[in-house]
């Protein structure tokens, strides 16, 4: 057997290495030494992230007989997820170090790394078996993470809601996959399925399969109407986990979604799932916004905002071409920094004061100008206000969605644009609470932990520069163009 092929799995191997080191250290180190777990993890993971960025991604190739394939875009999305995960780790330190309600902080890191590993598999899988394994590896530990703060009841409720819905969704996904298998001509390789579908005719079974697979994946992306768990879980889970859920797992799922639907179901794009997705996107954006308008709890608020953001991400998928892929990746990247920026502020304030309500943010700028400044930037970026990155990611994803030139997609973009007004409204509500409300601040002035500040600075830098510095998008675009044939061969 040729082991050189495993070079293509470089990211997974690095991650696995980090995981093992952390695990062994956490298991065998003594009480004293175990204090070093956090810095160790941070350093290792940081190094790993940087390494994956700077090492040339020349290891194109497939492993396990094509079950695992690594391409430029896969490397990009993995790097993006790394950055996200790293920022999450940074901002979780204060919480994890706080003595109460933490049993073994090592587990937090381990579980988190495992889920990340699972996401890698999801991303690179070109065979449904590997994909399902990755998916479950990515979603099951999250239930444990959601239940992490044992003393909080909400945490358990969040966990049970998450796990139940997750299992249900995986059941539906499997059902759908079984139908797919039935139609596939005996293979679960994406390419084989694509070929089989291209030759087969449209049937109810196929539609059922598509709908079920869409639902199964829609769970992780929290697309409407598969999103109902989101708000409760985001609210109940520890903030670090929530932010992780909202950006990293969502990003991975989005990419996997894209790969499966373009590469494997590409043949039935125009006459089947384009319209399913069309409906789902409209529902997602609108419902997410409508719910977000009324939220007072910041985490719940962010949950619904992330629901509607998922709808925008899907605009890249429905475009179904290289531009769509590039814009979606860029959107995810920007979304990661913007959302994590918001969460960094939220978690910092929660860790300091335990306050989570939007009303507690009133007059924040008087006591903590920098936090409110960062929050404002994050909100503007999420709302898509120039010159912040969010504006560029939004306009680029709209450009992608209109690139096919079909009037239907213009209509979709128009609906999305009108929804941005609603979203602007509730993002401005936060800004209003912080800057405009005349009340005296509830939250006292304090200095947030250095890790939190590093995380915040990273996010702010991203928010400010990602849009203005075009090479980032350029790189993503080139990557997706080079992968275009593999992905979109069946569509156009």
């Amino acid at each position: 057997m040729d082991y050189s092929q495993f070079g293509a799995m470089r990211p997974e191997l690095i991650l696995l290495g980090i995981f093992l080191i952390v695990f062994l250290f956490d298991t065998f180190a003594g009480e004293k030494a175990r204090k070093a777990t956090t810095p160790l993890t941070l350093v290792l993971f940081g190094l790993g992230t940087v390494a994956m960025w700077i090492l040339p991604d020349s290891f194109e190739g497939s492993v396990f007989g094509g079950m695992y394939v690594s391409t430029h875009t896969c490397v990009w999305i993995k790097n993006i997820l790394n950055v996200g995960a790293f920022i999450v780790l940074l901002q979780s330190v204060k919480w994890i170090e706080s003595p109460d309600d933490i049993v073994r902080k090592g587990e937090f890191y381990e579980l988190l790394l495992v889920t990340l590993f699972g996401m890698y598999l999801m991303i690179s899988a070109r065979h449904f078996l590997l994909f399902v394994i990755g998916l479950e590896a990515a979603s099951l530990p999250l239930a444990a993470l959601a239940a992490f703060s044992k003393k909080k009841y909400e945490s358990h409720e969040a966990a049970i809601k998450y796990i139940m819905t997750a299992v249900f969704s995986s059941a539906i996904l499997m059902m759908g996959l079984s139908f797919v298998y039935g139609l596939s001509g005996g293979s679960l390789y994406f390419n084989d399925i694509a070929l089989a579908l291209a030759s087969s005719s449209m049937s109810g079974l196929l539609l059922c399969a598509l709908a079920f697979v869409l639902a199964g994946l829609g769970f992780k992306l929290s697309l409407v109407p598969f999103h109902l768990w989101t708000a409760d879980v985001y609210q109940g889970a520890p903030t670090a986990v929530t932010s992780y859920l909202s950006v990293v797992s969502k990003g991975a799922a989005a990419f996997a979604f894209f790969v499966i639907f373009t590469q494997c179901f590409g043949a039935v794009y125009a006459d089947a799932w384009e319209w399913m997705l069309y409906a789902v996107i409209i529902a997602t954006i609108t419902v997410g916004n409508l719910f977000a308008m009324r939220q007072k709890n910041m985490k719940r608020f962010m949950a619904f905002s992330s629901v509607s953001q998922a709808g925008y991400i899907m605009l890249g998928v429905i475009a179904g071409n290289a531009i769509g892929m590039a814009s979606m990746l860029f959107y995810i990247f920007v979304y990661v920094v913007s959302n994590l920026g918001a969460f960094a502020v939220i978690s910092s304030i929660e860790n300091e004061t335990g306050k989570l309500s939007m009303d507690d943010y009133r007059g924040l700028h008087k006591s903590n100008p920098w936090l409110s400044f960062a929050m404002t930037l994050a909100m503007f970026s999420l709302a898509g206000i120039p010159p912040f990155a969010g504006f560029f990611s939004k306009i680029l994803i709209f450009t992608a969605a209109t690139s096919t030139g079909s009037m239907a997609l213009y209509m979709l973009v128009l609906i999305a644009l009108i929804n941005t007004i609603i979203s602007l409204y509730y993002y401005l509500l936060v800004v209003k609470a912080m800057w405009i409300s005349p009340d005296e601040p509830v939250i006292p002035a304090y200095r947030s932990a250095c890790t939190e500040r590093v995380a915040l600075w990273l996010c702010v830098a991203g928010i400010v520069f990602f849009g203005l510095v075009s090479p980032i998008y350029q790189g993503i675009f080139n990557a997706s163009v080079s992968d275009a044939l593999a992905f979109f061969g069946m569509i156009h």
Partner: protein, 642 residues
């Protein structure tokens, strides 16, 4: 003469305005007054010189075998709408503008001088002189305009300076509202003027007077026979332009602002609302006269409006108590005279006598009406009231004012040998030449004029002595005020003998005036009769007027209330436009349009509240939705596709 003098004529007043307006607050009152008077005096001298050279130098530039030329001293581009349609600011010298230069600068100078005495104790003395200079500048610019757009520009400027001067006592609400009324009414008229210019310039593609007046047939041809609602567009244009004139010259039904304008200082009334600005309308028609000639309908319109207004104003004037209002209405009536006589000045009959006559009357009227107003000012200055009820028997207290005022009255009544006689006689002659009806009608108006003027005269200077004189004794005004009175009185005596026809005629060719005995005799008789009647009724205190009044109270009241024009206007503007339309629209804006915009937000809020049950918190319902969603997705796609 080069362009320096003409430029100076415009430059001096505006400079005075800027100097007094910007630096006025800093400088002492005397200095401001002296500056103003000197500035105006210089301007007057220059204008006299310009007019003199124009009329008498006999240079080839100004007169070619008897026909006086129209000379553009200068004409600089100000704003280019298109390549051909260019607004220029220039100086057009021709008989009427030269004549107007003389009139304006003379009266203005007199008023400047007079005001020094009259306004001495008023606050804002400097501001007053600044505004006077501004007005003089605008009025001069108006009369020397080389093109209709320049005329419009200065037309607006005289409007605003009149606004500023009427509202000079800006702490009095009455003055403020009067100024506002004056501006808005004239502005409304100017709207017609503007639209007229729009139409005219659209077809002729020029603003220039000379181009239009030298070739009126060409103007008519350029419209290509286009018509609108039955009338040719040129008729529309000329009528609309005349509307502007109606506004400024207070023709019915746009006359309502002039009586109120008497709220301003009396010298201002003399300058603006008797002598100069209010004749701008006449001047405008005279300026465009050849074009009016080719569309007779508009000319008839002019004369009809004139005739009606003349009579109306004369009747109203008979019943006013405020002496300035009497004078105001007599002004309206006299200007209407000029309008009518312009309207009947068709060359084919009596070769356009009416034109000359109306210009002549414009000249003489300016003089004696200014005289009358300044006299009224002196009276008011003496008794501190505008009403003749506070006067009576003043002749022995204020001899100068009395004699000058009498001269004014005789002049306006048209008694030989005072100036009014000659001009009015020519006008009547022209009207009789047009149709006996015009002549008869206007003769009657002339009679009324004589009557109400002498009614006024007697009620002020005879009737009976007012008891108040005991505690403070009225006396003649200081020299700054008397000098103008005397000067103008002198002019009013002799101006009639000017051979006006030599200077101003419709075709600028000389015309030899000759008194038409029958007409002259008629008008003179009527005037004398009217004066006799007035003497009988008002010479000394007697019950006849009251008895007459009680005989026909309704008529008297109607006339006294100016036939309720103001009430009608109040109703239309306040009740209908302001309360109806404006409030309606404002309400609509807030409660319909704005409400719709807020409505979107409300709908979104309500929806989000309505669907919150989706997040029931119960996993089972979540899952139900989940499953239903998946199945529905499949089903709907199925239905749509297969």
């Amino acid at each position: 003469m080069g362009v320096t003098l003409p430029i100076l004529i415009l430059a001096l007043p505006i400079t005075m305005f800027l100097v007094l307006g910007l630096g006025g607050v800093k400088m002492p009152r005397k200095m401001a007054g002296v500056l103003g008077i000197l500035g105006m005096g210089t301007t007057a001298v220059i204008s006299y010189w310009v007019a003199f050279t124009y009329f008498f130098s006999g240079e080839a530039a100004y007169i070619v075998d008897g026909v006086r030329q129209q000379v553009q001293m200068f004409d600089v581009t100000w704003l280019a709408f298109t390549q051909s349609l260019v607004v220029k600011i220039g100086f057009l010298l021709d008989p009427i503008s030269a004549m107007m230069l003389v009139v304006i600068t003379t009266i203005s100078f007199m008023v400047h001088l007079y005001s020094w005495g009259y306004m001495e104790h008023e606050p804002g003395f400097q501001r007053y002189y600044a505004f006077l200079s501004l007005f003089s500048f605008s009025m001069l610019g108006l009369v020397v305009a080389t093109n209709i757009f320049q005329m419009y520009i200065f037309w607006e400027l005289v409007g605003v300076s009149s606004y500023l001067l009427i509202g000079f006592f800006y702490k009095l609400p009455s003055a403020v509202s009067a100024s506002k009324k004056a501006f808005i009414v004239t502005r409304f008229a100017d709207l017609g003027f503007l639209i007229g210019i729009l139409i005219l310039s659209f077809y002729t593609d020029t603003f220039n007077f000379i181009d239009m007046t030298n070739n009126p047939q060409g103007v008519l041809a350029s419209t290509g026979g286009a018509t609108f609602m039955g009338a040719s567009v040129l008729t529309w244009a000329m009528v609309l332009i005349f509307t502007g004139g109606m506004g400024k010259s207070a023709m019915m039904p746009l006359h309502i602002w002039l009586p109120d304008a008497m709220e301003g200082p009396t010298p201002v009334s003399a300058l603006i609302h008797a002598a100069t600005m209010v004749v701008a309308g006449v001047y405008l028609v005279a300026r465009m006269f050849p074009v009016y000639l080719v569309v007779e309908t508009s000319l008839v319109f002019v004369s009809v409006i004139g005739a009606i207004t003349a009579f109306y104003a004369a009747v109203v004037a008979c019943t006013q108590i405020d002496i300035k209002r009497v004078l105001a209405f007599s002004t309206i009536s006299q200007i209407a005279f000029m309008m009518t006589s312009l309207g009947v000045a068709w060359p084919e009959l009596h070769d356009g006598l009416g034109y000359m006559a109306s210009m002549f009357h414009l000249f003489t009227h300016a003089m004696f009406k200014a005289l009358l107003f300044l006299g009224a000012g002196a009276l008011i200055h003496a008794v501190h009231s505008n009403n003749y009820t506070a006067m009576g028997g003043l002749r022995k207290y204020m001899p100068i004012t009395h004699w000058t005022f009498l001269i004014g009255c005789l002049a306006i009544a048209g008694i030989w040998p005072f100036s009014g006689f000659f001009s009015k006689d020519e006008m009547l002659a022209a009207m009789f030449a047009q149709h006996w009806f015009w002549g008869a009608w206007m003769t009657m108006v002339a009679g009324l004029t004589a009557f109400y003027m002498f009614r006024l005269y007697y009620l002020i200077f005879w009737w009976e002595e007012n008891p108040h004189y005991k505690e403070h004794k009225p006396h003649d005004a200081p020299w700054q005020m008397s000098v103008p009175l005397i000067f103008l009185a002198a002019v009013s005596c002799v101006a009639g003998f000017i051979p006006f026809g030599e200077f101003v005629t419709w075709n600028r060719a000389p015309y030899h005036i000759h008194i038409e005995l029958p007409v002259a005799a008629t008008s003179l008789t009527v005037a004398v009769l009217a004066i006799v009647l007035a003497t009988v009724m008002y010479a000394k205190k007697n019950p006849i007027p009251t008895r007459l009044k009680d005989m026909m109270p309704g008529l008297w009241m109607a006339a006294h209330r100016r036939f309720y024009w103001d009430e009608i206007y109040m109703f239309v503007t306040h009740k209908i436009i302001f309360n109806g339309i404006c409030r309606g629209i404002a309400w609509f804006d807030r409660h319909v349009i704005d409400a719709t915009m807020d409505g979107f937000a409300k709908v979104a809020q309500k929806t989000s509240y309505a669907i919150r049950g989706l997040q029931s918190g119960n996993i089972q319902l979540y899952v139900l939705w989940y499953f239903a969603g998946a199945v529905l997705l499949a089903a709907i796609t199925w239905i749509c596709l297969l």
